[in-house]
Symmetry: C2
Subunit: 343 residues, 2 copies
């Protein structure tokens, strides 16, 4: 590995000049600059990032907090891959790397640890990370708040946080839900139910409120028994749908707060001999891969998946360079109409 010193010697200049060539090129004479660059190139010079970080007290790395919650072992992010594609791509464009932090030095089981803010913040300092990107692992709102308050620049995904250098990006959950209900009402449905996410979950709450707004907007009656709680998992969708179908006056349409639960509802309907969409229209949320494949294909509220990552990347970079509070980002959603709503 060639070092700056070697280059300096070969070029007959000092290490300071070599450093300047790469950091403040305009301050060094064109001729010597070219000479240094040429030699550096020949030797395949790669500046030592550790030395650099030590000296400048900053690195080009962003931490990624993505822990699987041991209380929800089967939890999978609905679109992690697209999210990462967007995130990595936007960060890469500005020279940032993504560091997936290891915190529990002694975790024995696969995916057995829960995000410990203190451990992550410590890691952030150790590595001089520019900031953190927090991926919702299903139930970490409290932990995320601790991150936000730590003073480390961070942006949370799908969880509203507040802190001196913290912000978040989320979909327009209320708007998406509202558009789903509007669509169903437009198809003539009056008895529209909803299956919610787990209590305390923010996107879920926003989707419920969107549902409410949609019902209000359409002048439809709101019944308590039409709002039944799920947990985003498929089985809870099945259970909820069974409950709804057993009502004296069952709904003719249901908006599920996740595609997984919508699929669960689909299975419940199928098992009960209820035809979808003729007897029961179903709309989901997320637009996961499965949505397009089930039969009937699921109408759903699509989120801008790579856009999530891109927005997070921009936000974190803005907080690092701008060094201030940033406005939360709310991404638009899009209703993808397929067969399950009967349109």
């Amino acid at each position: 590995m060639a070092t700056g010193r070697e280059i300096a010697q070969l070029c007959g200049v000092s290490v300071a000049t070599v450093s300047r060539v790469f950091n403040q090129p305009e301050t060094v004479n064109e001729e010597t600059r070219d000479r240094v660059l040429r030699v550096a190139n020949e030797l395949g010079y790669q500046p030592n990032e550790s030395a650099r970080a030590l000296s400048t007290k900053q690195s080009t790395m962003i931490g990624l907090v993505w822990d699987t919650d041991h209380r929800r072992p089967g939890w999978r992010h609905p679109y992690l891959q697209d999210l990462l594609i967007g995130l990595k791509s936007a960060l890469s464009a500005h020279g940032y790397h993504l560091l997936m932090l290891a915190t529990s030095g002694d975790a024995r089981e696969v995916g057995a640890s829960l995000a410990d803010p203190v451990a992550y913040v410590n890691m952030t300092r150790r590595h001089h990370l520019g900031g953190l990107v927090l991926i919702d692992s299903g139930s970490d709102a409290e932990a995320f708040e601790a991150f936000a308050q730590s003073g480390v620049p961070c942006v949370a995904l799908d969880v509203a946080v507040d802190g001196p250098r913290a912000t978040y990006v989320t979909s327009d959950n209320a708007g998406g839900a509202q558009s789903a209900v509007r669509h169903l009402a437009g198809l003539g449905h009056t008895r529209i139910a909803t299956i919610t996410g787990p209590p305390g979950n923010q996107p879920s709450a926003a989707r419920v409120s969107g549902y409410r707004k949609g019902m209000l907007e359409a002048g439809l009656e709101m019944r308590d028994e039409y709002v039944v709680a799920g947990d985003f998992y498929r089985p809870s969708g099945t259970a909820a749908a069974q409950r709804l179908l057993a009502l004296d006056e069952p709904p003719t349409a249901v908006f599920a707060a996740s595609d997984e639960m919508a699929v669960g509802a689909l299975l419940a309907a199928r098992a009960a001999g209820v035809r979808v969409p003729q007897d029961l229209a179903i709309v989901g949320f997320d637009d996961i891969e499965i949505a397009a494949v089930v039969d009937p294909a699921l109408t759903t509220v699509a989120q801008d998946k790579p856009g999530f990552g891109v927005a997070a990347a921009k936000a974190i970079m803005a907080m690092i360079t701008g060094a201030g509070q940033e406005e939360p980002v709310v991404l638009p959603t899009r209703l993808v109409v397929r067969q399950s709503c009967g349109a």
Copy 2:
């Protein structure tokens, strides 16, 4: 941020002793060790990893090479999330972090870059990475070979590589395919076709050879027209199935080298009025989430998804510490029987 020097002063020892407390605890007197640890704890001391890496010439980071191939924009890894869970978990347990490298400083579009081995290897040196984990992005066999030859410890996933400090982990693709064919033959099928992956893809080739072995084992006739090429994507499965169904003597069963193509075949059958599994049995490969949800649910060869990550982690750590060539890891597969095969 407390530094080692501060701790040293407060404890009335030298920085060397502080360093020893954390790196070779046995060489320092118990009393002073406790004193140092207590003070360090009180100050929330976090050793500066940059300084550490600079001094020791090694970091605790492993690079992750995961580029989306611009030639295959829609490509998604069939089980990235589970893979990462296993990988991160196993690495974390040994204190390693995963660094998702950014190489193309000027990539403008989302997911527009292809792995450039040189850039990655350079990054590896800059950051003193222990090694690299290479995720198959669909068509990078050549690039992977360049990695393997670079001398950087690396383990490739699903691509066989050979190098001084390189190895790979893959599923028992041949065995899995063979078990699929065996299962179909056991159900009485004699006309069994296969839909392959893209030419040059190693797992695909292994699956074809497993198919051949399975046919041979069952004493079944092998026909060239029963082996039709796809590209792992769903549409190619549809096209292939259409081709197969149009034959004078269409197969009664088909083994697809990916679940996506199996789903495509399913759609083709449905469109052609061919009943699955009565008229056509279908078996896929991967056991992606969709497999359990399509109708009929897909019988498929399941891979050990988190196991992939765990094996990769172990392999790369072994190469780093052991510093030698490691044996390739072949993970067992498991036939998951659902409805699409008619069993």
